[in-house]
C-alpha cells in the first residue's frame, strides 16, 4: 500500500483485492454486538472536511472509531478556516497536534496532493473537487464483488454527469483495473471529451444499454456544480437519463442498481426504483464503513521497523 490514498491510480489491482479482502473481515466486526476492535488504539485520525458531507464524514468517523482510533472532526464553519486561515496553516496546525492520518474533503481538485507536501500524516482523499473520490470507488467495487461474486468481465454503466463526477472517475479507474467492462452514459455535454482514452465505452442512449448490464450505476445530478447549463431542463434529463421504473424493468435478472447518494429521487432515479430489492444503495453505505476501516488499518497498521 502507498503512504497516501489520493487517487485510484495509487492502487494496483493486487492492492484493490487486498483492500476488498480486508474489508470482508471488517464486515464481520460490524455484525458483532461490540462493533469495535483495538487495532488502531492510540492513533489519531482527523476528518478535515471543507465541503459539505454527511455519509462520507460519518462513515470515516465510524470506521476510525470502530478501530479504536481517536477521531477529531474538523469542518470549515466554526473553525479557524472561517476566520480566514489558509489551508497550509490549518494543515500545519493539525500536524503539530500529532495527527496520524488526515481525511480531507475539499472543493478544489488536487488539494489532498498539496496537503501531502506539508504534513507527515497519511492523507486520504475523501473527495476533491471534480477529481477523485477513491474510497467511494472502493466501497462500490466491494459491493459489486460481494453481490455478484466477481469484478472481472462485469458490464457496468455509469450514468449521468461524468464530467463533474469524482465518483465516476475513481470508480471507472478501479473497474478498468479489475477487468470490468465500463460504459459511460449521459448527455454529450456531460461526458469528458477524452473519455474513450480511459478504457471505457461511451453511449448516449440509456435504453440501448440497460438490457445488457450487470450494474447500472446512477450518478447524482450535481446542481451545485452546474455553473453553466449543460442540459435544457431537469425534466428532460430525467426522461432521457433517469432510471425510471420501465427502464429498470429492462435490466437483466440479478443486475444491481447503485447510487453513491445523496439521491435526487425523481431526477436520476425514480423513487420506487430506489426502493427495489436489487437497488443496493444502503448496502453501499454499510460497506463504506468496512472499506474505510480496511484502508485505515492497512495504511496506519504498518509503518514501524521490520520484524516482530
Amino acid at each position: 500500500m502507498k503512504e497516501h490514498l489520493l487517487s485510484m491510480h495509487d492502487l494496483t489491482a493486487d492492492d484493490i483485492t487486498r483492500v476488498l479482502d480486508t474489508a470482508e473481515s471488517f464486515r464481520e466486526v460490524g455484525t458483532r454486538v461490540i462493533k469495535k476492535v483495538p487495532a488502531l488504539r492510540g492513533r489519531t485520525v482527523v476528518n478535515f472536511f471543507l465541503e459539505n458531507s454527511t455519509r462520507t464524514r460519518i462513515s470515516f468517523e465510524l470506521a476510525a472509531k470502530r478501530l479504536s482510533a481517536d477521531v477529531i472532526n474538523f469542518t470549515a464553519s466554526g473553525s479557524s478556516v472561517a476566520k480566514g486561515e489558509s489551508l497550509k496553516d490549518t494543515a500545519l496546525t493539525l500536524q503539530a497536534m500529532g495527527a496520524d492520518a488526515i481525511v480531507i474533503r475539499h472543493s478544489s481538485s488536487g488539494s489532498p496532493l498539496q496537503l501531502t507536501e506539508w504534513v507527515d500524516a497519511h492523507v486520504l482523499n475523501a473527495g476533491d473537487g471534480t477529481h477523485e473520490h477513491p474510497t467511494q470507488g472502493l466501497l462500490d467495487l466491494y459491493t459489486m464483488r460481494e453481490k455478484l461474486g466477481r469484478l472481472e468481465g462485469l458490464r457496468v454503466a455509469i450514468v449521468g454527469d461524468i464530467l463533474h463526477s469524482r465518483v465516476a472517475r475513481s470508480l471507472s479507474i478501479g473497474l478498468v483495473k479489475m477487468g470490468a467492462d465500463v460504459t459511460f452514459v449521459g448527455p454529450p455535454t456531460l461526458i469528458p471529451p477524452d473519455a474513450t482514452s480511459w478504457g471505457v465505452q461511451v453511449d448516449y442512449d440509456l435504453d440501448g444499454v440497460v438490457p445488457k448490464l450487470d450494474v447500472c450505476y446512477m450518478l447524482r445530478v450535481q446542481k451545485e456544480r452546474q455553473r453553466l447549463e449543460f442540459f435544457p431542463s431537469v425534466r428532460e434529463y430525467a426522461r432521457l437519463f433517469g432510471l425510471s421504473r420501465e427502464r429498470a424493468a429492462q435490466l437483466p435478472e440479478g443486475a444491481l442498481v447503485m447510487h453513491p447518494g445523496p439521491m435526487n429521487r425523481g431526477v436520476e432515479i425514480a423513487s420506487d426504483v430506489a426502493d427495489l430489492p436489487h437497488a443496493v444503495i444502503e448496502d453501499q453505505v454499510t460497506n463504506g464503513i468496512a472499506t474505510r476501516m480496511a484502508l485505515l488499518y492497512l495504511m496506519l497498521g504498518g509503518g514501524g521497523e521490520e520484524g516482530s
Partner: protein
C-alpha cells in the same frame, strides 16, 4: 538445519489424547466449544471436534478466531499484518471455550485471543489447547492441554504442518544453532 519432532502418528495420538483430556476435565462436552486461532489452529480445532465425536458422539461447535486486530505489535511492523476471517457462529457467553492453537511461544497471541473472545461475549471459562509448547513465555500464560513440550532456543523456528493445508502432518524445528 531442521529436525522433525513429531511424525503424523505423533500428531494423531496427541490430538486423540487432548480430546480425551477435554472430555475428562470438562466432564463431557455439553457446554464446550472449540475456537481455533487462524490459521492452523482452526484446522486443529476441527480435528479435535472430530476426535471428540468419534470418542463419545457429541458434536462440539467449532469456530475460528482471527486475532490480528488485537495484536500488540500493530504499527511496530513495516506492513499491517494480514487479516484472516473470524467465524464464530454461536454465542460464547456461558460456554467453556477451548482455544486451540498450533504453537505456544511468547503467549502474546493467546492474550490477543482472550481479548478478542471477551469482546464477543462472556465465556464461563477459557482453556487453552496447543499442539506444541516451545517455551519462552513473555506473559503469565500456560496451556491446559499440550500435545508435546519441545525445548527450543528462542531463535529457532517451529513449524506445524497440517495435512489439510500442507499435505502432511508434522512438527519441524528449524534451528539457528
Amino acid at each position: 538445519m531442521s529436525a522433525k519432532v513429531m511424525e503424523p502418528d505423533d500428531v494423531r495420538r496427541a490430538l486423540t489424547r487432548i480430546a480425551h483430556e477435554i472430555l475428562e476435565r470438562d466432564k463431557g462436552v455439553d457446554d464446550v466449544v472449540l475456537v481455533g486461532i487462524a490459521d492452523r489452529g482452526d484446522e486443529l480445532a476441527a480435528r479435535l471436534a472430530r476426535e471428540i465425536h468419534r470418542i463419545e458422539g457429541p458434536e462440539v461447535p467449532v469456530g475460528v478466531l482471527d486475532i490480528t486486530f488485537y495484536r500488540d505489535d500493530i504499527g511496530l511492523r513495516a506492513e499491517a499484518p494480514e487479516v484472516h476471517e473470524t467465524r464464530i457462529p454461536f454465542d460464547v457467553s456461558g460456554k467453556v471455550v477451548v482455544l486451540v492453537d498450533d504453537v505456544l511461544f511468547t503467549g502474546r497471541t493467546i492474550r490477543s485471543a482472550m481479548d478478542a473472545l471477551t469482546d464477543l461475549g462472556r465465556p464461563r471459562k477459557i482453556q487453552l489447547a496447543v499442539l506444541v509448547d516451545r517455551g519462552h513465555r513473555e506473559l503469565p500464560i500456560r496451556a491446559d492441554y499440550v500435545g508435546k513440550n519441545v525445548p527450543t532456543s528462542r531463535a529457532d523456528d517451529v513449524r506445524v504442518l497440517i495435512e489439510e493445508v500442507d499435505g502432511e502432518d508434522a512438527v519441524v524445528v528449524e534451528g539457528a544453532r
